[in-house]
Symmetry: C2
């Protein structure tokens, strides 16, 4: 079975490249830490495939996050501390997985790659 | 003691936002997996501080990576599989840490934030 992780970014907030990257890394690591060890090991051994996807706004981000949780995927939502570019608590992105490729596609399959 | 992780990106190669983010997540997670559990736990409990920095080219990236290894920091260099935008094996970025803030500054302190 193939595994992947999705990092899903909002397209409606302006972030610098550094902020963007840091938030995505939080999301990726956060979801990773919630995944089962067996899935993690498979995913790593397969080269830790990642897809970076986009949603248009907060509502869609939250919908996706709730769906991910309902489906039982390890998932993590990033809230910015708001010390630099954004308002405190701004939800910027989520990490989902690692999870089986085809299962994850059920909830992320219609999103566009960044 | 304060801990942080550095993600260091090359500025001399063109990558899409998605590629950029995916590579950085590889670097972050790769270095994280090489860190000692006690440091990881401290870093996470402090809010997993990350800094995103830049270097001008491959030579400087490799110099920094070798220095990180010499100093004993957990570190990870990302080689792109080259299936999409880049030549196979292109070294795109590195993750260093989590490590004590002031120690890490000794090798990354002169780099510019992205």
């Amino acid at each position: 079975m193939e595994y992947k992780q999705a990092v899903v970014l909002r397209t409606d907030i302006e972030m610098s490249r550094g902020k963007d990257v840091a938030q995505a890394c939080h999301a990726s690591l956060g979801a990773y830490r919630r995944a089962e060890e067996s899935m993690v090991e498979e995913w790593i051994s397969q080269g830790q495939k990642k897809v970076v996807l986009e949603v248009e706004g907060l509502e869609k981000l939250m919908d996706l996050y709730k769906r991910a949780q309902r489906e039982g995927f390890p998932s993590f939502i990033v809230k910015d501390a708001g010390e630099t570019e954004l308002e405190p608590g701004t939800k910027t992105c989520i990490g989902i997985g690692p999870a089986p490729d085809s299962n994850l596609d059920k909830i992320t399959g219609e999103l566009s790659p960044v």
